[in-house]
């Protein structure tokens, strides 16, 4: 856990296999989609140049496609095409439509009408006019469109990592999730270089003498097909089971790295965003996924957590962490917050998350109803003694906890509450806390240990198996280092976990991660 000190260069050297694989996949994704887009968009552009009454409609549709946010477009593809390369390629292809159709259309339209008139008057067939006159003369404009599309695709292809299609997005999003700058750069720099390189290359082709347009007409498809085939190379490794892990999980020692080193688990993996991961497992597109043990979707999609029999996942007991200063200033705050301690176990939290994540109930309603059932609810006192600023990370469980604390503070003290929800990941929340922009947020002991404190390896090994020891360690170190206090744990353990479909796990008799390893090795 000393990636920060590592230089970018040594990171790249260490990960060169992965980097090469991701780069090839990235080029492949970009160009397969570009090739398909060209195959469809150029004939469409030609067609609307003939049937002008359709040009508005077609260009309108292509324009709308491009305004759909990339992530959303990828999301729309999943129900239709599942996860992996197929939906990514289709989404990228749709993105590339507009510039290519538009430029083919304008390119052909701007061919001087006296030239096409002469061509026709000399007895050329419409096919000859298209291929000998219109397309060669429109070629520079069409190439400009392809160039734009290429640059767009190189960029958007990074998002393909969210739906298990690979590419340089794996490093970029893994790096963002892990707050690992080297990893971000190892993905972002090659992606930027690819965009610049292909832009430059196409600019050269574009500048070729207009006469060589005929050569480029032939050579470009060949180059495109060649580049597209890159994508097929990394896909040759085959295995029985397929695991989908988040970019963050892939890079953590209490994640994929631990699975490899401690369990010697050797499973085929794809990188995927947690937004689609559970659903993909439910739909048999993935067999094993990384997840959180209290995630509501566990219940929604009928998944089961595999037992971590060699303890690579530390305990992740949730507790509010609060700036010592504000606890001293308002002595009534700590008892109010501690009212929740011990009240929520794993299954209760899973259920609450299920209601928010899956049934789409508002977190505020779920929180209030829970507190009423627990006899903890009190009407707000509407006091104005002071303000407590609360933050949360960007997922449902944190929103629910925040609402509960808000109700407890307002009902039991004369303080008011200001909430700042959705502060991205751990690093952003914690920085906001240490920079006195928020006063508290709910945190997990394992995260405090591995992401924030990052002690040397043997310290981690000594305490990781024991939830009390981890709690004590983080509590002591946070006060010493940051003047931040861990209050009493809420009760549940939202640990990282490996999950499978209940049915499949039952059939294969897999209960622990070791069982999974055995099964994979034997097949």
């Amino acid at each position: 856990m000393n990636e920060q000190q590592q230089s970018l260069w040594s990171f790249i050297q260490q990960q060169s296999d992965k980097l090469l694989e991701q780069t090839l996949a990235h080029i492949g994704l970009t160009f397969i989609s570009l090739l398909l887009s060209i195959i469809i968009a150029i004939p469409l552009g030609i067609w609307i140049s003939r049937k002008k009454q359709w040009s508005g409609t077609i260009l309108g549709i292509a324009g709308v496609l491009q305004t759909i946010p990339s992530i959303a477009l990828l999301g729309f593809m999943i129900p239709l095409l599942g996860i992996g390369a197929k939906p990514a390629i289709v989404a990228l292809m749709l993105y590339a439509f507009l510039p290519i159709i538009r430029n083919t259309f304008t390119g052909i339209n701007q061919v001087n009408s006296s030239v096409t008139d002469a061509a026709k008057g000399m007895g050329m067939t419409s096919y000859q006019i298209l291929f000998k006159v219109e397309l060669p003369l429109a070629m520079p404009v069409i190439l400009a469109g392809i160039r734009t599309a290429t640059v767009i695709n190189v960029g958007v292809a990074t998002l393909a990592a969210y739906i298990a299609a690979g590419g340089l997005g794996e490093f970029i999003f893994g790096g963002i999730a892990l707050n690992n700058t080297n990893m971000i750069l190892a993905g972002a720099i090659p992606a930027a270089l690819l965009a610049i390189f292909f832009d430059f290359l196409l600019a050269r082709v574009q500048q070729l003498n207009i006469k060589n347009a005929r050569i480029s007409l032939i050579s470009i498809p060949i180059i495109l097909v060649g580049l597209s085939s890159f994508y097929l190379l990394p896909a040759t490794i085959k295995g029985h089971m397929l695991a989908g892990f988040t970019p963050e999980f892939m890079g953590r020692s209490d994640g994929y790295l631990g699975l490899k080193s401690k369990y010697k688990l050797n499973i085929r993996t794809v990188v995927i965003s947690d937004a689609v991961m559970y659903k993909a497992a439910f739909e048999n597109q993935l067999d094993v996924i990384s997840g959180y043990s209290t995630d509501g979707r566990l219940k929604a999609y009928d998944l089961v957590v595999l037992d971590d029999d060699k303890t690579i996942f530390p305990p992740y007991y949730a507790a509010p962490i609060v700036r010592q200063e504000i606890l001293t200033k308002y002595a009534e705050l700590e008892p109010a917050l501690n009212l929740l301690s011990g009240r929520i176990n794993d299954s209760i939290m899973t259920d609450l998350n299920y209601r928010v994540d899956h049934l789409k109930e508002p977190p505020e309603k779920v929180a209030r109803e829970f507190l009423i059932r627990q006899n903890l609810y009190k009407e707000p006192r509407n006091g104005n003694k002071g303000i407590v600023r609360m933050g949360s990370k960007i997922f449902g469980e944190q929103y629910i906890l925040l609402q509960m604390y808000s109700i407890l503070i307002k009902g039991n003290t004369d303080l008011t509450v200001e909430t700042k929800t959705g502060l991205g990941g751990t690093k952003i929340c914690f920085d906001a806390l240490t920079n006195n922009q928020i006063d508290m947020y709910p945190e997990y002991t394992g995260t405090g240990l591995l992401v924030i404190l990052q002690p040397v390896n043997n310290v981690v090994q000594q305490i990781i198996g024991n939830k009390e020891k981890v709690y004590e360690y983080v509590q002591k170190e946070f006060i010493n280092q940051y003047k931040i206090k861990w209050l009493k744990p809420i009760g549940f353990n939202n640990a990282y976990a490996l999950m499978m479909r209940k049915k499949q796990a039952g059939e294969l008799n897999i209960r622990t991660i070791s069982d999974l390893k055995m099964f994979i090795d034997n097949n």
Partner: protein, 321 residues
Amino acid sequence: MIQLQNVSKQYANGKAVDDISFSIEEGETLVLLGTSGCGKTTTLRMINRLTEPTKGDIIVNGQDIKTQPPELLRRGIGYVLQHHGLFPHYTVAENIAIVPNLLKWNKEKTARRTDELLQKLQLSATVANLYPAQLSGGQQQRVGLARALAANPPVLLMDEPLGALDPVTRASIRKEFNNLDELKRKTILLVTHDVQEAFELGDRICLMNEGKIVQIGTAQELLFNPSDEFVSRFIKEQRFQLELESIQLKEVWRFLPKAIEGTDEKLLVPETTLWEAIETISQAKHPEAERFATTVSNQKKQIEIGSLMAAYTNYKNSIKA
């Protein structure tokens, strides 16, 4: 060679061509003349089926054009456009070779023909490998003509071929065209709105107005026998020059004074037009010393500007009578 029978073209906004009929003999040049928008281009484009007539029949080389595939018809008809319409991505030589290639001529034959045409149209051989954008307007127009002539089509359609040029270049290219043997043998329909050009290039002139033919005939017929007021008004401004250009010395012969025997004159041929004669005389280096004469059947008559004008007036009076 070309025959139009009751041809009309109707557009949504009106009749562009309204029931016109004419025929052009083999080897003849007919000029379509008229104001802008009177339907000249439409008439011309119906002949190579770039525009389909609403009504009427068109016969080229004895065959109804509707019975042939348009592409094949067009390969047999040379077409010259106002804005040359050269392919910007083809060299001059490639542009000229377009129709021969469509007709699948062999390379050698095409190359020979290209050289021949460049020479005839006074384009240097180095021009062959240039692109149209590298040529002057006059050169572009010559290449446009060369391209139309390449496959030696018997019929040529020209839509304001010199329309985009300045008056000086235009006059000089017009002279060249007039002397080009290739053009003399062809059946030509030429569109212009320049009266001067029409009279100079046309064997006959077809004057159009609002989609209809007003008069069709030779230069002299239009000048001295206009069918109505419109015809006279159309040529009014240039009438004097046109008349002088349309009359030859031999026609006013009988009104010219006899030459004084024994003097040393320059002889002009009897086919010289009055206009050319006046030009020659007024451009003489020593107007005082030089004398001009013309000879018909061994009889010599003296030519001076004064006596020419008198003969011209007498001639006009004689044909009106």
